[in-house]
């Protein structure tokens, strides 16, 4: 009967056909691409005007660091000859393994996250081992171990294909999940889902959401990270970056990412570090470029080694203090207040010049005249963004609010901002100039702690609470 109505038949057929086609709608994962750092390239006129060289630069960076789909650090042969090898022992899995406490937490966190799979392995219901999310490399490992199930059953002897250790198959199977540490490629995909829309594909802090955020997301490509426990403007340690992921940065759009496992966060740290190293090498190559040398292998290798060396040196730069936090006495707080409030030209620590006499971040040096517009604006950080000098009365301390955190912050300053290092800063007390000591730093920290007595948001307690 329908054939007598050709239009209707045609419509229905078209619909059926398009439905059938649409059913293979499962989309592919999109590919990100690393882009060149336009700002750095623009600084070098020769490079900016030579598109061929830019392509070469992209190729060189891909040679060293891969693509977002297949990222990797190129390991130079001489590094591998060192003992322990320069790479990868200061990175990634080996580094975390070497820290027993951190590795223990990672295993605990994996056990929690994959408890259903581990339970299935324990009871032998291997079909119930479900594929976890964001962990393709984990699943690949599992499938390999699964395929190697010995004939004697799960408790038969089995040689772990990854560690080479002898044990039972069940132990190896459990170890796949318990000891899971993501590869860079998995972390790159994880980054695409969680971080890319703010931090951008190349870590330039230029994702789609970034332009609405204040402060802007971090541009990793300078290799500068504000919040570390290190002195001397050193590159961050693995622990510092991990700390940012677990704590978030309060009052910014960077939340705490504790909902992910430790392993995933460690993997993200590795990937962020790759983006940072890549960005730094790119910056050095861009500034070194001359039309005569071009993008050459020797220069590439030298810059790569230079950048990696800086990162490696991080662990040596930790600010430590021998002993517990000193006793907080009113005299020390008063001393801190004096150091804080006395301007530099009168021999103080000069905090008041930026932070203001009330600590609200409204000191004169918090603002400057823009050379172009000639208007007053807030000071800028190294990334060119205007920043607010911290209002210390709000109890907001982005690196942490413990005494040791404030100590470190005052000691080392904040990388990339006008907040300077204070250790060794010359102050004059009782007519005697001397460099600030660790104890002076503590006094400042104790004083600053007394300022942050207001809650981060001022809401009076209403009676009745409604």
């Amino acid at each position: 009967m329908i054939v007598r109505r050709p239009r209707t038949a045609a419509l229905l057929a078209a619909f059926a056909l398009s439905s059938a086609l649409a059913c293979k709608l499962e989309p592919d994962t999109p590919e990100l691409h690393y882009s060149l750092n336009r700002a750095e390239i623009a600084k070098n006129e020769d490079l900016a005007s030579d598109p061929a060289a830019q392509v070469q630069l992209e190729g060189a960076l891909e040679f060293l660091f891969g693509t977002p789909k297949a990222p990797a650090f190129l390991a130079l042969p001489e590094w591998l000859e060192e003992d322990p090898p320069f790479y990868p022992s200061f990175w990634g899995e080996d580094h975390v393994r070497a820290d027993e406490a951190a590795w223990g937490r990672l295993v605990e966190s994996n056990k929690k996250a994959y408890r259903e799979q581990l339970e299935a392995i324990r009871t032998g219901n291997l079909e119930r081992v479900e594929r976890p999310r964001y962990a393709d490399d984990l699943w690949a490992r599992w499938e390999e171990v699964r395929g190697g199930l010995p004939e004697g059953g799960p408790d038969a002897a089995y040689s772990d294909p990854f560690s080479g250790e002898e044990g039972t198959w069940r132990q190896s199977a459990a170890a796949v999940f318990e000891n899971y540490y993501p590869k860079l490629a998995t972390s790159a995909e994880f980054y695409r889902q969680q971080c890319y829309h703010c931090h951008g594909a190349s870590g330039g802090g230029d994702g789609s959401t970034s332009r609405f955020l204040e402060p802007r997301p971090r541009d990793y490509r300078r290799g500068i990270f504000k919040f570390t426990a290190l002195k001397g403007k050193a590159h961050p340690r693995h622990e510092d970056l991990f700390h940012v992921l677990t704590e978030g940065i309060y009052t910014t759009a960077m939340p705490s990412f504790r909902r992910f496992t430790d392993a995933q966060l460690h993997g993200l740290v590795d990937y962020v570090r790759l983006l940072a190293v890549r960005g730094e090498v790119e910056g050095l190559m861009a500034s070194d470029y001359t039309p005569e040398t071009g993008i050459d292998f020797e220069g590439l290798k030298a810059n790569y080694e230079l950048v990696m060396g800086k990162w490696r040196a991080a662990k040596d730069a930790v600010i430590t203090y021998a002993g517990p936090v000193p006793e907080i006495t009113p005299e020390r707080i008063e001393h801190g207040r004096t150091l804080f409030m006395t301007p530099g030209d009168k021999g103080g620590a000069n905090c008041v010049s930026c932070h203001g006499t009330s600590g609200r971040g409204d000191g004169a040096s918090a603002f400057e005249i823009d050379p172009v517009t000639k208007l007053q604006r807030r000071v800028k950080d190294d990334w060119g963004n205007e920043i607010q000098v911290r209002d210390l009365t709000r109890g907001v301390f982005r690196f942490g609010r413990r005494p040791i955190d404030l100590y470190r912050r005052i000691y080392a300053g904040i990388n990339g901002t006008p907040m300077p290092e204070h250790i060794g800063f010359t102050v004059t007390e009782g007519g005697q100039p001397h460099p600030m000591s660790e104890e002076d730093i503590w006094d400042l920290a104790f004083f600053v702690r007394t300022l942050g007595v207001q809650a981060a948001h001022e809401i009076p307690h209403e009676a009745g609470g409604h």
Partner: protein, 262 residues
């Protein structure tokens, strides 16, 4: 159209309409098997709320089946062709009274049966436990896009240098009525712990007391339940219910950790 086509149409329509109550009920019956059901509750008032849910569910199911069933039956029965005329009636007063009065009574019953559970959760705050509205265990505040919790210092102050401030992880003791003060730093958020059957919007400018008592130790999802911006979807937290002594140890550890130097 000819009678074959009409019969086909009648059949298709009846099937579609009958699929509504049949599939409608079947998918509810199977929902729990498909993991599409609410999780077990671990709070003291959760069971009461779940009970109300089920009472309504049964009433709704019976009504659903009866009305949809009547609809299907009438459509099937009265869509035949033929010369008969419809029944000429403008209504039936008695029937109107009956089907107004009975639902009214049922609805009034539903309304009144809810009141106790609501006042338990939102109005009757614990008064003789260790935590009260004036002295809550913690302050929780939502911000774009993080949950942060603040435990008072040893003197009970929520402001000052010695408060414990933690993102994401909220620790509470088991079998203790916990009161917290809910705040927001910026925009509206909502504190939703599905397993406690607890939800309360965090309103900037307000301090809203919230209470619960968890009967089982464990880790529970905390979800933001009010649009707060682009990051609303990932504004997560975890509520960790610890046995009482473990909780005290944890809190003491936190206080001690404040003064460590590593």
């Amino acid at each position: 159209m000819n009678s074959l086509k009409h019969a086909l149409l009648r059949l298709v329509v009846t099937l579609l309409l009958v699929a509504v109550p049949v599939l409608g009920v079947w998918t509810w019956v199977k929902a729990e098997d498909w993991h599409l059901w609410f999780p077990e509750t671990v709070s003291t008032y959760g069971a009461g709320i779940d009970h109300l849910f089920y009472v309504i569910m049964w009433m709704v199911t019976v009504t659903f089946v009866l009305t949809e069933g009547a609809l299907v039956w009438f459509v099937l029965r009265y869509s035949g062709r033929g010369e008969r005329r419809a029944v000429y009636t403008h209504g039936n007063h008695t029937l109107e009274m009956v089907w107004t009065a009975i639902p009214a009574l049922l609805l009034i019953f539903v309304a009144f049966s809810q009141m106790k559970a609501w006042s338990t959760v939102k109005m009757n705050f614990p008064e003789d436990g260790p935590y009260t509205v004036e002295h809550p265990l913690m302050e929780v505040y939502g911000s774009q896009f993080d949950w942060r919790v603040r435990y008072p210092d040893a003197q009970g102050n929520f402001e000052g240098a010695d408060v414990i401030e933690v993102p994401y992880d909220i620790y509470v003791p088991e079998d203790t009525p916990v009161v917290l003060r809910l705040k927001s730093r910026d925009v509206l958020h909502s504190f939703f712990v599905p397993k406690f059957r607890l939800k309360q919007d965090a309103v900037p400018g307000m301090n809203i007391p919230v209470w619960f008592e968890a009967e089982e130790a464990g880790d529970y999802d905390l979800i933001c339940a009010e649009l707060c911006g682009w990051g609303h979807y990932k504004m997560a937290g975890r509520v960790h219910v610890l046995p009482k002594d473990e909780f005290e140890r944890w809190l003491a550890d936190q206080r001690a950790a404040l003064y460590r130097t590593e």
